[in-house]
Symmetry: C2
């Protein structure tokens, strides 16, 4: 159950390894918004989208701030946080390279969440003015429907699953996203703290911790601090009981 050193993870890391690179070499290009605007890498380069670097714990955008642009994550991980009136706050999402951040704000013209970098990161800045263009609109619409699906999944998770099921579902989902980015699917580095995980999943940090340790004890995963290895994906998935739009019960 021993975990490989972190360096193993970093060796696999070919996303965002080139923070100053051009779009031509950007490995999240396939999911990137500007992609819809230009077919060739050269044309992409000419679009003049800005880049922005954000250091760890810095804010990409503030809650309540007016929206000037959307952001496409190029490298690094982010989390979204929202507060309710009385000051309590909750993590509402984690964002990986290829994700588009800030769409929720288009309706109100104001960011509904604060987006924080969990590690040094870089984003592409997409001016809001671009949204008038039909190709951009189509791309954003697609990203938005995905956000909606994800949000409904979280709703189901928070509403009907037990804490253990939510943790399992979280790990399986995280694994899938890592795999989609070219990382290993069964060994990864959680960028966020136990408190963030707990907040995101609607439980205390202690509960999140205890359940991760329980899975470790039972041999489903190996976990040490932020390093996680999935030892029995099937067992984990079995405990996740996730949302399945193909399910025919209500058909």
């Amino acid at each position: 159950m021993a975990l490989a050193p972190v360096t193993t993870l970093h060796a696999r890391r070919h996303v965002g390894a080139d923070p100053c690179g051009s779009c031509a070499t950007c490995l999240v290009r396939a999911t990137c918004l500007p992609q819809g605007l230009a077919q060739s890498p050269e044309a992409l380069e000419g679009l003049g989208y800005g880049r922005k670097r954000v250091k760890r714990d810095e804010l990409l955008c503030r809650m309540g701030a007016p929206v000037e642009s959307l952001y496409a994550v190029r490298s690094g991980f982010f989390e979204s946080r929202s507060v309710i009136e009385d000051g309590r706050e909750q993590v509402t999402g984690f964002h990986m390279p290829g994700d588009i951040v800030g769409m929720d704000a288009i309706a109100t013209g104001m960011h509904g969440t604060a987006v924080v970098a969990l590690e040094d990161a870089e984003v592409c800045v997409i001016p809001l003015a671009r949204l008038g263009q039909p190709e951009v609109q189509r791309h954003v619409q697609k990203a938005m429907t995905h956000e909606l699906s994800r949000a409904r999944g979280m709703l189901l998770s928070l509403g009907t699953l037990s804490a253990e099921e939510r943790i399992a579902a979280f790990l399986v989902g995280f694994s899938r996203r890592m795999q989609a980015l070219g990382y290993a699917r069964d060994e990864f580095h959680l960028r966020m703290s136990r408190e963030d995980i707990g907040s995101y999943l609607g439980m205390s940090l202690e509960t999140a911790c205890r359940i991760l340790m329980r899975f470790h004890r039972e041999g489903v995963i190996a976990v040490k601090q932020k390093r996680v290895r999935i030892l029995d994906m099937a067992a984990l998935a079995a405990r996740a009981a996730s949302y399945d739009p193909h399910h025919r019960k209500l058909a």
Copy 2:
């Protein structure tokens, strides 16, 4: 604390009172999708959007079914239900006249929820082909961002609020939506059962019931079966601790 008879409610009801009426007299017209396509009522009429009637407990669309169109609710109330793999299901939304239903499905081309009529209802059918039109796209995008905001609000509710706070927030929100439709804001008829409310808010039907009774006992509301009167809106709002995008804690 006695409640007025239901007829009082129905007397106020001027939305959807004309189920066969034209768009020109439709009172949810302002929020209706086709509105963006035609400036005059006559032009609206000519767009040839279909109508569809749905009886109580009938499905407007099935989960997993291919998406052919969106629906704009003209009259009546609906609820959305999703299932997770193991068969457990949850109510994920309630839909009132003026709401657009089915947007979540655009990405996958398949409905992620089953939409059920809570009473006899009528909808306008919006063929998916229309989505290519820029005006429609813009309108749908706006509706979608509102859905996203609502979803995040629910996430916060399920993640950080106590059962009592969630019930309070639900009542305040329901009241606001009723008022926006021209109904009384402090006296209304819940179309859904306690089980539906509980499911939507992530608690058992007994808990939903007990909390409503607690509010009744404390004089905050008067509730008898599905009839609700809000006696002390301020007290209710104080317990709701809802999501506020203007909040500056994370700014």
